[in-house]
Each structure stands twice: as C-alpha cells, then as structure tokens.
Amino acid sequence: MIVIIDYNVGNVKSVLNACKRIGLEAIISRDEEEIKKAKGIILPGVGSFAVAMENLKKYGLVEILNDRKENNIPIIGICLGMQILFEKGFEVEECKGLGYLKGNVDMIKTTEKLPHMGWNQLYFNRQNQILKNIKELEDVYFVHSFMADFNNENVIAYTEYGGMKIPAIVGMDNVIGCQFHPEKSGEVGERILKAWKEIVEC
C-alpha cells in the first residue's frame, strides 16, 4: 500500500485513479500512522510553491516526510509536488522547499507562451529505473510556468521548450520527481507509474 499525501493542493483523485488502473493499492491521507506504514509516498500538487510548503507545515508533514526519506522509502513528487522537493522556490516570494534535491525552482525564462501546456517529448539524461518502460522521445503532458534548475546530477530526463532544457524527471536515491502529469499522460504516463510501482515493490 502507498499513500498519496493529502495537503489541500488541488485534485488528487486523478492520481488515485491512475494508481488503481495499474493495480497499485493507494489511499489519500495525511495521517502519520498511515504514512509510516506506506511502502511508497506520492506527493501530488497543483497551485503555488509557497502554499504547498505552508500546508505541509500546517499538517505537520515536513518532519514525517523527512523521516520517510531518511528511511529510504520511495517518494515521488508530481508537478508542484516535484518542485517542492528542491531547496528553494521563487514563486511570488522566496520560499524554502523540502531540499531533497539540489537546486531551485524559478519562472521559465522564455518569450514563448506560459504556461508551458500540452504534450511534449522526453529526452533522456541519466539512466534510472523509472525510465525502464519508456522510450526516448515519447510524449507526456505538461502544465506549468515554473521549472527546476537544470542540475546534471539529478536530471534523469528533460524536455525542450522556448529554447530551454526543462527538467522533466529528476531524482536522487529514493526520491523521484515528475514535472509533467503521468496520471494525465495516457499510456506512456501509465508505464512510468508502473516503473515506479516496481521500485516500490522491490
């Protein structure tokens, strides 16, 4: 069983539906006991960096997540849930993130339209188990205006937009983040979630 963290940052039901479809048993919760029992943790989220961090603190989830991270439990952040895995965010104002991954999150610097919305292709940067079911250049669904710094040591896959290389899958040790929405990325997204399921189950 895994836990989808419930911290009031948008609709998390689609993540739950996606888990169900691949046979990954999941619950939506912010209960400490449930989180401590979980074999894996999904950190979802849409909205703003500062609100997400504030909510995590308000529900006492930061310490629990830190503890789970230290205990080597697989954690995957999706979209905003990926961004707060980094050290700092600059949406509205500077705000500290969870700091599991090195780097900051800032506005995409481009003259192209924002949000970066729609299907875009993945380019691989580093080998990782999370890529095992997909091929380079497959499409996933993005919707965001902020991006993580391109830090070679934690970028697993990236996409290109407005002349920028945008980190799309990031990770270090037991922590993974997806800037796009695997739960909305059709069959490709499903294969990515299945790879994470295997990481959780091994």
């Binding site: 609709n11 909205g47 949000p115 919305m117 937009y161 909305k184 059709g186």
Partner: protein, 255 residues
Amino acid sequence: MLRKRIIPCLDIKNGKVVKGINFVGLTDIGDPVDYAKMYELQCADEIVFLDITASYEERAIIKDIIEKGANELRIPLTVGGGIRTLNDFREILKSGADKVSINSAAVKNPELITEASKEFGAQCVVVAIDGKRDEEGNFKVFVKGGRENTGLDLVEWAKKCEELGAGEILLTSMDADGTKKGYDIEMTKRVVENVNIPVIASGGCGSIQDIVQVFKETNCDAALVASLFHYKEATIDEVKEELEKNDISVRRINK
C-alpha cells in the same frame, strides 16, 4: 517540441452526447464517457465536455459523468457549461475535471477569473470566448450562443482574460460555428497574436484540411473538433497523419 493538440468536444444534454448545439433538432448519439474513451484511444490530446443542460436538477448528472470520465480517462478533461460561481468551479474540479471553462460568467463577473486562478491555479482556468463580427465588421464578444453582443472588443477582452489570470483561451467563432466551412483564420490570428497564453481554435471545422489550415496559418495551440469526429467523417489518427505530412508536430501513439 510542444505538440499541437486535437481536442474532441462533446456537447452533453441529459447525460447524453448530442449533435452540435447549432444544429436544429438535438438527437442524442450516445454515452459521453464511451465517446471520450474511444477518442482517447484514437490519440485525442484532451477531452472537452460541454454541459448544455439547462436545469439545475440535471447538474447532478453531469457531475456523475465527470466522475466516470475521470476514472476512465488518462488524458486531461475540461468541463464547461453553466459554471457561474467559485463553488461551481470547486465542485466540477472535485468531481475529477482537470480544467474548467467559463464563458458568460466571466463577462458578467471578470473577478471570477482572478479568484478561480488564485484558488485553483491558472492552469485549470479556461476562458471560453464567443467572437463574432458586428455590422461594421469589428470583432466583438457575444454571449447566449451568439445572440447577444456584449459590446466588448474581442482582442481587448482576450488580453484582459490573460491579465486576470486565465491559463488558456477557448476561442469560438460564432460566424464560422456550424458552417463546416473551416476555422475563422482571421479571428483566430487576431487573438493568438495578442495574448501570450495558449489558444484553442473552435468553430467551423468541416474537414481534415480545415485543421491543417488553422495550424498552418495561425499560431494557435489546439483545435477543437466536434461533428467531424462524431459523425465519423474522420478519425483523430487520420487528422494527425495529415498534420504530420504538413510538418505540424503532433503526438502519435506507437508511431
């Protein structure tokens, strides 16, 4: 490269998909979720459900459909029709929609765009704009299915929507809608060139070539398609194949 999107739009009344609202004599043609799933498998990039149900009691039906749709679909789902308040927004999103589209409510109460954008994020706020030429040929914003001229200038209103926090614009040409003579290139261009958020072109699609044309001649991000698919005059795969032949970047499945 960011792909151009093909978005089938399903008009829903009493829980059933009906033929386009501008056609006389509504006939239901099937279950919306079945249709949406079929389109997903044909490589639709997103789905739009437009609730054209009039009465309040029937709102429960649409929520049920959204819930089923969200369960089945693995691509983004936008829901529009009759959304007036922040609470309507909340309920539609809670049912499982990814984006909510608002039309006349935004004209009546522009702050709704800002409030929704603040509370749920700009990415889920789609402002639907119905544009039409007035007697002098100026592009104006119309409501009530193109019957009422609001007097608002189309481009000014689109820019204002962006400023207020809209994440995307769904632009329907009421001149072209239902004609099947092609998208309104001039209108689409006018809006696309004046905003910096994604624009979905809508109204007038009657053939695969119409879709090719709107992507070739304007920088719109997506094309909304209804009857062409519902009447099985073309499949999404066929559309995408033709777009690829014309060097327009689209997402393909297993290709």
